[in-house]
């Protein structure tokens, strides 16, 4: 319900106050993590539990760097996520192009085959997939972390929707000009579909960067761990140092939060693609 803003001023102030309070409440766990990351362990142990650091310190961040190879974890996660994003963009563009511009028998059937992968939870196939990666000798490698995710049915579906918006006349004109099928994809379809490609990219990056189960299974060496599995190790240390854990949490969450702020529009388009228009 889009309400009007021409109200009494105090009501408007009340609305803002409510919004501010609720926002802080929803984001509270995150804000608390940020706050704790600047507290000394002795301050965290005081009662009642503190909310804001009395004497903010950066020590925890230094200690994270000394305790776990977090730089390496970030590097691993960025490499794997980038490879997945590029791979998904390529495979999904090609497939979406076939499903939108090319006409061939069996297209419908193949499209349903693509969509059917959405019904298969990754966790239900994780045992054979683990065995595949192991038998390829890909445990503790970037390819073991990335290759299974190089295709995306959701992304293909999203790009197909975008490609279908492109006027058919452009295709006909390009054919008359003698452009090949592939050149039309590269020179016309891709440049016209930047927003949708952005959505697929951000989505792919976030979901890969935030993975936990798969990297936990296929990496054993410390140096091949990704960020999520890496910081989780802090939880299983003998003494839980909360300042340290929260500093790690902030370092790991920072890139995704930055992505949220920068790519919010693309992200929202992706999330609502399935829900709003059936």
């Amino acid at each position: 319900m889009q309400q009007r803003t021409q109200r009494l001023p105090y009501r408007k102030a009340g609305t803002y106050l409510t919004l501010a309070l609720v926002s802080v409440l929803v984001a509270f766990p995150l804000l608390l993590a940020l706050s704790y990351s600047f507290m000394s362990e002795s301050e965290i142990a005081t009662f009642p539990p503190p909310v804001l650091p009395a004497r903010p310190t950066f020590d925890n961040y230094g200690r994270v760097l000394a305790t776990i190879p977090i730089g390496r974890y970030l590097l691993n996660s960025f490499v794997v996520s980038s490879v997945v994003v590029i791979g998904q963009l390529v495979t999904a563009s090609l497939a979406a192009y076939a499903f939108s511009f090319l006409v061939f028998r069996g297209r419908q059937l193949l499209f349903f085959l693509f969509l059917s992968t959405l019904m298969i939870p990754w966790e239900a196939t994780i045992i054979p997939n683990y065995m595949t990666i192991r038998s390829l000798g890909w445990l503790d490698t970037y390819q073991g972390l990335a290759v299974p995710f190089l295709a995306t049915a959701f992304g293909t579906f999203l790009l197909r929707q975008a490609f279908l918006q492109i006027p058919r006349e452009l295709w006909d004109a390009a054919r008359i000009d003698g452009a090949t099928t592939f050149r039309f994809l590269r020179d016309v379809v891709i440049p016209l579909s930047r927003p949708a490609l952005g959505t697929v990219a951000i989505y792919g990056f976030l979901s890969t960067y935030n993975q936990y189960f798969w990297p936990l299974l296929v990496t054993n060496q410390t140096l091949m761990r990704t960020t999520q599995v890496g910081i989780a190790q802090l939880r299983f240390e003998e003494t839980l140092r909360w300042g340290l854990v929260m500093a790690g949490v902030i370092m790991v969450a920072a890139p995704t939060l930055a992505l949220l702020v920068l790519g919010q529009r693309q992200l929202i388009r992706g999330l609502t693609a399935g829900a709003v228009k059936g």
Partner: protein, 295 residues
């Protein structure tokens, strides 16, 4: 219908474009799904290699297994605690955010921030909040005179703790989806209802809720599937315990396959998981199809 040369040629061109994605799907989705079914019919060695044919033994074991039945219960409770509350909370916040105000985007970003938060990060933060000695949660409860429980130690409470964490993690997505649904409601409908004298709560239950019902239904299915697949928060908060209280189907698969090395049995559990998700997805597709016809 006969295949002409041209049919084959155009199919060939199409397949060239589909090949990269299709290859990944065949190797990492379709064949593994088949292998999951296959493995579920065999006894396996610790390496995962099949040793002897088991027939339906694993499935019979599942049906009679106390652990698996309690796993189904845990999964069901997890869904019941998480999904409805998560959606209702998301709707309330989405309505709050659906106002034409200056700087509303700042609030939207803040409330939707959990979209970007990984389950591992979320679980670690909530682990601190649930902490009996240092946690803020029980301290805040004590301020209003409630003696907070030992969140991760009492079996009946641990699944609630996992659910609270999950509600928070999915809140961002729920808000965004419902906000988009709310923005799709034409202003004229509200105008008409207002002329008919509808206000406040009545407007909400009679207009808003029915109009966003497609989004609500979408989230009901998607959030339930997400709960069925949840692993990280359980691994970091409770490790399936105490006494299997949070050993959901997925966590059972992890324990049986990768801790106990019973790959055949764990594959049978995977088949159950697959079936559940399949049924939910079919329900959703059916529903979406019907809506399209109505429009």
């Amino acid at each position: 219908m006969r295949w002409t040369r041209r049919d084959l040629r155009s199919l060939g061109v199409g397949l060239v474009y589909l090949a990269p994605a299709l290859f990944i799907f065949v190797v990492f989705v379709f064949i593994p799904l088949g292998r999951t079914f296959y493995l579920s019919l065999f006894h396996t060695r610790v390496t995962g290699a099949t040793s002897s044919f088991a027939g339906l033994d694993h499935y019979i074991d599942l049906l009679t297994s106390e652990t698996f039945r309690s796993g189904l219960t845990a999964t069901g409770l997890f869904a019941v605690y998480t999904v409805p509350i998560g959606i209702i909370l998301g709707l309330v916040l989405a309505v709050l955010l659906n106002q034409r105000l200056r700087a509303i985007n700042v609030f939207r970003t803040m409330m939707a921030s959990t979209i970007a938060i990984s389950a591992a990060v979320g679980a670690l933060i909530w682990l601190l909040l649930f902490s009996p000695s240092l946690g803020l949660l029980n301290y805040v409860l004590s301020l209003v005179g409630i003696r907070g429980p030992e969140w991760l130690i009492q079996p009946t409470i641990a699944i609630i703790a996992v659910s609270i964490t999950t509600i928070w993690l999915t809140l961002g997505t729920n808000i965004i989806v419902l906000l988009a649904g709310l923005q799709g409601i034409p202003e004229e409908i509200y105008e008409a209802a207002r002329l008919d004298g509808a206000r406040g709560a009545r407007m909400f239950t009679r207009i808003t809720v029915p109009m966003v019902s497609p989004s609500l239904f979408f989230l009901l299915v998607v959030d339930t599937i997400a709960v069925l697949q949840a692993f990280t928060q359980i691994h970091l908060l409770t490790r399936g315990g105490p006494v299997d209280a949070t050993r959901t189907i997925v966590y059972g698969i992890y324990l049986d396959a990768f801790q106990n090395f019973q790959f055949g049995f764990a594959s049978a559990e995977s088949v159950v998981l697959f079936t559940l998700v399949l049924v939910l997805t079919i329900i959703q597709f059916r529903f979406v199809e019907r809506r399209v016809h109505y429009q």
